[in-house]
Symmetry: C2
Subunit: 415 residues, 2 copies
C-alpha cells in the first residue's frame, strides 16, 4: 500500500502570531531520530522560579518519559523541557529508562539545573528502542541558540503525522497586570486522550502557586482535551504540561496561590479557551479526515453520562463512515446512543443535524426533508445534536470522520 | 462514492449439509422490503410443544421486534418465527409497534396459533418506517410452502451486507437418543454483540425445559457471540433465539428440566460448538475484511478483565489497520492493553504473533526477527496472543481487520 500525502482540509491559512513569554526560550534541531529533512527535537528553557503542573495519560502501559514527568511533577519546579518526535520511547523496558536518564542529564548540564527540573516528552513509534545518545549531544548547542520567538519552529519540531503545527495564544489580566499564555500541541492519530492529549505544552509568565496551577490545568483538560477523539485509541504518551515562569511578577503581577481566588478568573477562562483552541486543532487534523464533527449531547442523566454517550457517537465507526459519505444517517446515531449503556428514553430521543430536526419522539420527524440535510452534510464542519430525553446532563465532543485516508496512513505507518 | 462488490475471502467453498429437525419447517419469499431480486422474508413453523429461549441486545434503543421477543420469551412457547431483512424496524416509534402487531397477527393466522407464540426479528436499515402490510399477506403462502429442508434458503433470506449464508449443524446424545441442532445466523457490520449477535436462530428436536434451555443458551452466548467484534458497534436488533421442538421425545429422548443434569452435557457442548461456529462465521464475514484475527489474552486479573483487554485490542482502529497492512505492530497492541483500564504489568507483558514471541518483559524480544513475522502476517488468519502478567484470567475474541472495503461499504449504505 503506497503512502499518500494526506493534508487536512483545515490547515490554517496563517499560523497565529505568538508573542514572547517572559522567562521562556526555545530552540529546535534536526536530530534524525526517525524523520529526515525536518526538525524533530525541541528544547525549552525556563527561567529560575518556573512552576509546572500537568496531566498525564491514564494508560496502564505509559511510556518512560511519562513516568519520568509523573515523578518530577511532585517537585513542581521546571527549568527545561525536551521533546523529541519519531520515537515514543514507550514499551522499551530498561533501555527506555536509560534513554530518559541520558536525555535529562544532558539537558540539565546544557541548561545548568538539577536533573529533576528537566521535563521530557517523546512521541512517535512505540516499542522500538530509542538511542538518546544520538541526540543528547545536540542539547548544548540548543541551549546556546534558544530564543524567545521560536514558537512556530517549536510547534513544527514536535509533529508526527500532524499535517500542520498547532499553536494558540491568549492574554488575561491578573490584578492590573496583563499576562500571556502560549500553547503548542501535536496529535493526529491515537487520539482519545485520557487526561491530556498526545503532547501539549502551555507557557505563561503568570505567577501562580503550583497546586493552584495544577487544579486549573486539570479542570481545563477535562473540558477540552478529554473531549477530543480521533480514533478512540489512547496514547501511551499523552502529556500536558503547563509552565508558569512568574516573570510577570517583575511587572507587578500578584502571586496567587489559591485556585479559587477571584483574581484568577480571567486567567482560568483564557487557559480554558487556549486549550479548547488546541484541542479543536487536534480534531481538525485527525488522520485522513474530510469533516470536523461536533457532537452535542443534552438531556442525559448527568454530564458524565452525556460525555459517555457523546463519545459512543463520536467513536462509532458506522457514524464516522456515514459522515465521510455525507449521509445524515440518524439510525446510526440511535444505535450509538443505545450502545453507550447510559440512560436514554428512546421514545423521547431527538436528533438534529445542524439546525435541522431529523428525528423526534423516537422516530423520524414528520417534517424532515432529506434534501436540506443532504446539502448540510456536504459542508466541512458538521454538528450533530442529540437530546436523550432523561435529564439535564450535557457534553460536547469533537471528532472527525473515518475515511480511506485514515486507512492509508495507518496501514503502513511503521513498516 | 461508488459501491464496490466486496466478497469475504472466507466464503465457504460449500455450505454444510443441514439435516431436517423434526418439528421445524421453513419457507422464504421475495417481499421486496428493500432488496430486489433476492429473498428477504423467512417463516419458520414450529410444532406444537416447542419451547424457546433467547438472549437479546442490551442496547438502550432496541428495536420494536426485540421488545416483542422480550415480552413473549416470558411465555417461552413458540409456534412461528418471522424474520425480514432490509429494514430493522428500529427507532420507528408507534409505527414500529404497529408493524410488529400486523406481522404477528398475520403469522398467527397463517400458522394457526396464538399471536404470543409468534417470534419476530427484523434486520437492515434503522430509523425508516417499515410497512408490514407490504409483506404480511405473503405469510399464508409461506405457511403452505414450508418444508423441512429449506435451511440454505432460510440462511440466505436473512442476509443484509453478509457475503455468504451462515449455517452450522451438530448432533448430541441425550440419554440413548441422538438429537440434532441446526443454527443459522447473519451479521457482518454493526457487530459487537452485547448478549447475542445480530440475528441467530438455533433449532433442535431435543426435549428440554425452557429455564434449562435459557440457561444453556445464555452461557454459550457469553463464550461465543459475545466474543465477536467487527466494528465495536452494538446493534439495536441483536437477537438469539433457540427453539426446542421436543420432537425427539417420540423417539425415546428423555425430557430434561435441569440445566445441570449430567445427561445434558453432550448437548451443552454441541450447542456451544454450534454457536462458536456461527460466531466465527460472522467475524469471517466482517465488512470489508481481508484478515480474520483471533485475539487471545491470558495472565489477566480474571476472565472478565481478559475479555475487556481482548476487546480493546480487537476494537482498536490502529491495531485493525496494522493488520490490514500486514504490519506486526506490537506497539499498538501495547497501546490497546494500556487503554483497556484493566490491570497489566507493562514490564511483564509478552506478545506473540502466531507462534513467534515478539515482545517480552516490557520490550522487544532480543531474538525477534521481523522477517519471520512479516511472512506470517501475509496469511489470511492471524492470531495475536498477549500475556499481561498479572493473574490467570483468559479470554478469546474474534475479529477482523479494518480496510478500505469497510469504508466503501459504510460510507454509502443508506443513501
Amino acid at each position: 500500500m503506497g503512502k499518500k500525502t494526506f493534508v487536512s482540509p483545515f490547515v490554517p491559512e496563517k499560523l497565529p502570531d505568538m508573542p514572547p513569554i517572559l522567562g521562556v526560550r526555545l530552540a529546535t534541531a534536526e536530530a534524525g531520530i526517525r524523520y529526515r529533512g525536518r526538525t524533530d527535537l525541541l528544547l525549552a528553557i525556563l527561567d529560575h522560579g518556573t512552576v509546572v503542573a500537568g496531566v498525564l495519560t491514564q494508560s496502564k502501559t505509559r511510556s518512560a518519559p511519562v513516568e519520568w514527568c509523573a515523578k518530577q511533577l511532585k517537585n513542581g519546579c521546571a527549568r527545561a523541557l525536551v521533546v523529541n518526535a519519531g520515537n515514543a520511547n514507550a514499551f522499551t523496558g530498561m533501555k527506555g529508562h536509560k534513554a530518559v536518564e541520558i536525555t535529562a542529564k544532558a539537558a540539565a548540564e546544557a541548561v545548568g539545573c538539577p536533573v529533576v527540573e528537566v521535563f521530557l516528552a517523546s512521541t512517535g513509534i512505540i516499542g522500538e528502542p530509542m538511542d538518546a545518545s544520538r541526540f543528547a549531544h545536540l542539547l548544548d548547542q540548543l541551549a546556546q541558540d534558544a530564543a524567545p520567538d521560536a514558537w512556530h519552529a517549536a510547534a513544527q519540531a514536535i509533529m508526527t503525522t500532524d499535517t500542520y503545527p498547532k499553536l494558540a495564544t491568549r492574554t488575561a489580566k491578573i490584578g492590573d497586570t496583563q499576562v500571556t499564555l502560549n500553547g503548542i500541541c501535536k496529535g493526529s492519530g491515537m487520539i482519545q486522550p485520557d487526561m491530556a492529549t498526545m503532547l501539549c505544552f502551555v507557557f505563561t509568565d503568570a505567577s501562580i502557586g503550583q497546586p493552584a496551577l495544577q487544579k486549573l490545568v486539570a479542570q481545563a483538560a477535562d473540558r477540552t482535551f478529554n473531549c477530543v477523539t480521533v480514533d478512540s485509541d489512547t496514547s501511551t504518551s499523552d502529556t500536558l504540561l503547563a509552565f508558569a515562569t512568574e516573570a510577570a511578577a517583575a511587572h507587578g503581577c500578584p502571586h496567587i496561590a489559591d485556585a479559587e481566588d477571584q483574581r484568577l478568573q480571567g486567567f482560568a477562562t483564557a487557559l480554558h479557551d487556549l486549550m479548547e483552541d488546541l484541542a479543536i486543532l487536534v480534531a481538525k487534523d485527525g488522520e485522513g479526515l474530510t469533516k470536523f464533527v461536533t457532537v452535542d449531547v443534552e438531556g442525559a442523566e448527568n454530564d458524565r453520562a452525556a460525555h459517555k454517550i457523546a463519545l459512543a457517537i463520536a467513536n462509532s465507526p458506522l457514524v464516522k463512515t456515514a459522515m465521510a459519505g455525507e449521509d445524515p444517517n440518524w439510525g446510526r446515531i440511535v444505535m450509538a446512543v443505545g450502545k453507550a449503556g447510559e440512560a436514554a428514553e428512546r421514545d423521547r430521543l431527538a436528533i438534529w443535524f445542524g439546525d435541522t430536526l431529523v428525528a423526534k419522539d423516537g422516530e423520524r420527524s414528520p417534517d424532515y426533508v432529506e434534501e436540506a440535510v443532504a446539502q448540510y452534510m456536504k459542508g466541512a464542519e458538521i454538528t450533530v445534536r442529540v437530546n436523550v430525553g432523561v435529564g439535564n446532563g450535557r457534553a460536547t465532543v469533537w471528532t472527525c470522520d473515518l475515511t480511506h485516508g485514515y486507512i492509508d496512513i495507518n496501514a503502513d505507518y511503521r513498516t
